[in-house]
């Protein structure tokens, strides 16, 4: 199935969860936050949230800023 992550289209396996997606991207240990379809999803819920076709995922982190 196809989802959009940070504006990029990606093919992912059916049954993938937010937790498995984050791990696959190599971000498991990072201090990040995740939004699914414009709503924040808490880290402790990532393993339970299965992705669906056409989902919109945003993954953010802290960068230098004023």
């Amino acid at each position: 199935m196809r989802v959009q992550i940070n504006g990029e289209e990606r093919d992912i396996d059916a049954g993938a969860t937010l937790a498995s997606l984050v791990a696959e991207l190599g971000l498991g240990e990072r201090r990040i936050a995740v939004e699914l379809n414009h709503g924040v999803v808490r880290r402790d819920r990532w393993p339970a949230v299965e992705l669906r076709d056409h989902d919109l995922v945003e993954i953010v982190q802290f960068v230098g800023g004023g």
Binding site: R42, F62, G64
Partner: protein, 262 residues
């Protein structure tokens, strides 16, 4: 012997700080320079931005590996947000990323000046306070806007001295004086400081703290400017506490006028 005086600290959203210099982390050459400049500044609160992770190349290092939340209070900003909804989303994401509930709210109303959209800032602040955030709003040097932000429950107000990154110093001292007289919550000047004397003037006027980024990161020698800003802020604060002499038009001799030689 006089009693040792209590340390000069201030409280913000329930935490006590000694350093009255708050610094941004943008525009440095790399994370190592960021870390060294911030150490030289003596700052205890640092601002950060919230941005998408590059999912194709996430990179190995992260800013917070260098500026650890156990040592610094991390103050996420909503820089780049032009709508209430974007600012709220950014704050909610920042809180979820796990550095606390303190946020620097910016809702930008104009690209050229980066002046805030004041009505949108007030509405966003009201909503964020309802959601439990400690809100530090960037705002124009307008006492009515600052009073409204105090009314909706902000932890401080952060009026600009001049446009972000302009280095012009305080453009309107009278507006800032009025704000300082009228506010009951801390006043932190945010944006527009160019050099150490600007920071000293801000503190001499009685502001609680001053926030800057470009003035340090953009200097030829950022580490040296970070130290200069630390000293400027401390000098200004000490002068404020000491109480300056009144300005007079005519001279008053410093040396005795009696017992002069003939």
């Amino acid at each position: 012997m006089s009693q040792p005086s209590a340390p000069d600290t201030y409280s913000l959203a329930g935490k006590t700080y000694r350093s009255r210099l708050i610094v941004g982390t943008g525009k440095y050459a790399d994370f190592s320079e960021t870390k060294r400049a911030i150490e030289a500044s003596g700052a205890e609160i640092v601002t950060v931005a919230v941005r998408r992770v590059n999912i194709t190349d996430p990179g190995r290092e992260n800013l917070l590996d260098y500026l650890t939340p156990d040592r610094y209070t991390i103050l996420p900003n909503t820089a780049g947000c032009t709508t209430i909804e974007d600012a709220l989303r950014t704050c909610r994401l920042a809180r979820e990323a796990g550095v606390g509930k303190l946020v620097k709210l910016e809702v930008i109303g104009d690209d050229a000046t980066l002046f805030p959209d004041v009505p949108a800032t007030i509405d966003a602040a009201r909503q964020l306070v309802k959601e439990g955030f400690d809100v530090l709003p960037y705002v124009t040097d307008d006492v009515v806007a600052c009073l409204r932000l105090e009314d909706v429950g902000c932890a401080a107000v952060m009026p600009l001295a001049a446009p972000i990154g302009s280095g012009l110093g305080i453009r309107n001292r009278y507006n800032l004086r009025i704000i300082l007289e009228r506010m009951s919550i801390p006043v932190i000047v945010d944006a527009g400081v160019g050099t150490a004397s600007d920071a000293a003037v801000v503190m001499e006027m009685g502001c609680t703290a001053v926030l800057m980024n470009t003035a340090i990161a953009g200097a030829n020698e950022p580490l040296r400017m970070a130290r200069a800003m630390k000293l400027g802020v401390e000098a200004g604060r000490e002068a404020y506490l000491a109480g300056r002499i009144p300005k007079k038009l005519y001279a008053t001799a410093s040396s005795p006028l009696s017992d002069l030689i003939d």
